[in-house]
Symmetry: C2
Subunit: 327 residues, 2 copies
């Protein structure tokens, strides 16, 4: 508890664990806040809390996830991620070695994503109250395109997904429930800005970007359909899902359209731009399974899927909780 008291133990924790990992000029100054340099472009801001359980999972940890989740939300605003703040709620008794691992992962993910962690805060709560560590990250990025969002989606637009779905959720579940699948399924968690920036650099007209996190593809598309008042038609046969994930979902009774991803997004572009957009995504090497899975049309605010056997069904928002503490 004394590590959170604001006195000498807090200072030691900062100096021993956080500062060596987060080597940034601003953080090193040890002020209550950080000063940003002059910025030319308009800014986007996003915030996210991370409570994933377990803290370590195949393909990442709460540390890397806390970076990827937030830089990805910036990417979904068409903004290049520049700065992150980090807030930690630590549980009394958390092993320092585990904290160090989380912080190291976080620093590595930040470095790879090209963002600087500019200011941070740490609180400590009693044993049993905090579940190891919760992290908040808030991101600031510079907008490279005009505003993209559901309000710009139009009938006639195509829906593209950037890759196969469901790996993050299944990876978490396999560790949490101690399930061994014949193929080890790793989280898809990764930074999405490189793929988005390739679309921007190619001059693709981007109407809306949305990452497919909590609630999966179905929630993302439903949110867009409702926000814009359009119908979204998707084709089940085109939705990329790997065989191991498909098998795991069948075994567990989960619908992969509702399983969370941490390194997948959908992008909505004018129909005529779609083939080129898919080509650009594939060319980055980061979205080899990118493909068009549907289109927007006039209609009611809903998502309708043509099934593999030729029927049509409404894909509703996630109702209730499929898999808690996924991010």
């Amino acid at each position: 508890m004394a590590h959170g008291g604001g006195g000498r133990m807090t200072e030691r924790l900062i100096e021993d664990v956080f500062l060596p990992a987060f080597v940034g000029a601003e953080l090193g100054r040890r002020h209550d806040g950080a000063y940003l340099p002059e910025l030319q472009r308009r800014l986007a801001v996003t915030t996210d809390c991370f409570v994933v359980k377990p803290l370590l999972f195949p393909g990442g940890s709460i540390g890397s996830l806390a970076v990827h989740g937030t830089v990805n939300d910036l990417a979904m605003c068409g903004a290049r991620p520049l700065y992150l703040t980090a807030g930690f709620v630590l549980e009394e008794g958390l092993e320092i070695a585990l904290l160090r691992r989380v912080v190291t992962d976080m620093a590595a993910a930040a470095r790879e994503s090209g963002v600087e962690i500019i200011t941070a805060d740490t609180k400590v709560v009693e044993r049993g109250k905090g579940d190891g560590v919760y992290i908040n990250t808030t991101g600031i990025g510079e907008c490279l395109i005009g505003e993209a969002g559901p309000w710009r989606a139009e009938p006639g637009d195509a829906v593209i997904v950037s890759g196969d779905l469901g790996r993050h959720g299944i990876a978490i579940l396999s560790v949490r429930e101690g399930i061994e699948f014949s193929t080890r399924i790793e989280s898809d968690a990764m930074a999405l800005w490189p793929a988005v920036s390739a679309l921007i650099a190619a001059g693709i007209e981007i109407h809306c970007l949305r990452d497919l996190t909590r609630g999966g593809l179905s929630s993302a598309l439903n949110e867009i359909a409702r926000a814009r008042g359009v119908e979204i038609n998707i084709d089940e046969a085109t939705i990329p899902i790997s065989e191991p994930v498909r098998g795991a979902c069948e075994f567990l009774g989960l619908d992969p359209l509702y399983v969370a991803n941490e390194g997948r997004f959908c992008v909505i572009v004018p129909g005529g731009e779609a083939p080129r957009a898919v080509g650009v995504l594939k060319s980055t090497g980061l979205a080899l399974d990118a493909r068009v899975i549907g289109a927007l049309c006039e209609g009611r605010s809903r998502v309708v899927m043509k099934t593999r056997i030729g029927g049509r069904r409404i894909v509703d928002m996630l109702s209730g909780e499929q898999l808690p503490r996924i991010c």
Copy 2:
């Protein structure tokens, strides 16, 4: 738990509780992030997690505290608070009425402080894991002065405190431990920007600002002394502490120099500017007890106090934990 799943229940929570309170154009758009308007000045950024226990206390709640704590850190950067992000970790079973109270307090404090809550995130953790609600706020402000910080403090500078010390910590403790004092002691939590902006408007040369939160006056001054490599001499007789707080501290065996405040700061200015700075602070009506309590001099990185009985003692950083979960 379903309120955190990212599906329909999450949407309902957002629409029923958060959106009605946080009426801002950006939040209402329901995107993953917020776009800021073009800003002319340099920005300061700060982040803070709030885990105060109990959630409601005399003079505020975790909701108002989460606003004041962060806008005050911006003020300590000499920056006018403009925007806040809000991240919530909710415990399963938290009463919606209590959440509504917290969110309403937060919205009121934001309105009074002139900041807009531009984007937010909610996670839910299992019963027993989250202690009601934890809040992270990250603040963005525009700098109205050049950088102020410990690195600008100089020997010969005066140390001014903005008001009486210790009320926040004692208010929290009285509720938590069920102690009744003859006088009800209310938290001093309040926004500090109006007082800081008055100093700026008056043209006072501000070298360093620091709010006196966790670890109290002693930790703030020790941090400055160490960061700058100077000795800070303070005079016990000049330090403003109300009689009820002094009595409570004696009763509880606490040193008021280490008790947390949430609406008090110290400002370091050139010695010659000090009387005018005190006058400006008093004139705002928000810092009636403002006064000079000490000065910086060449020496070792430490804080030395002239006691009431004429002795001298080193005021060290808080060692261990005087009062956990204070903010």
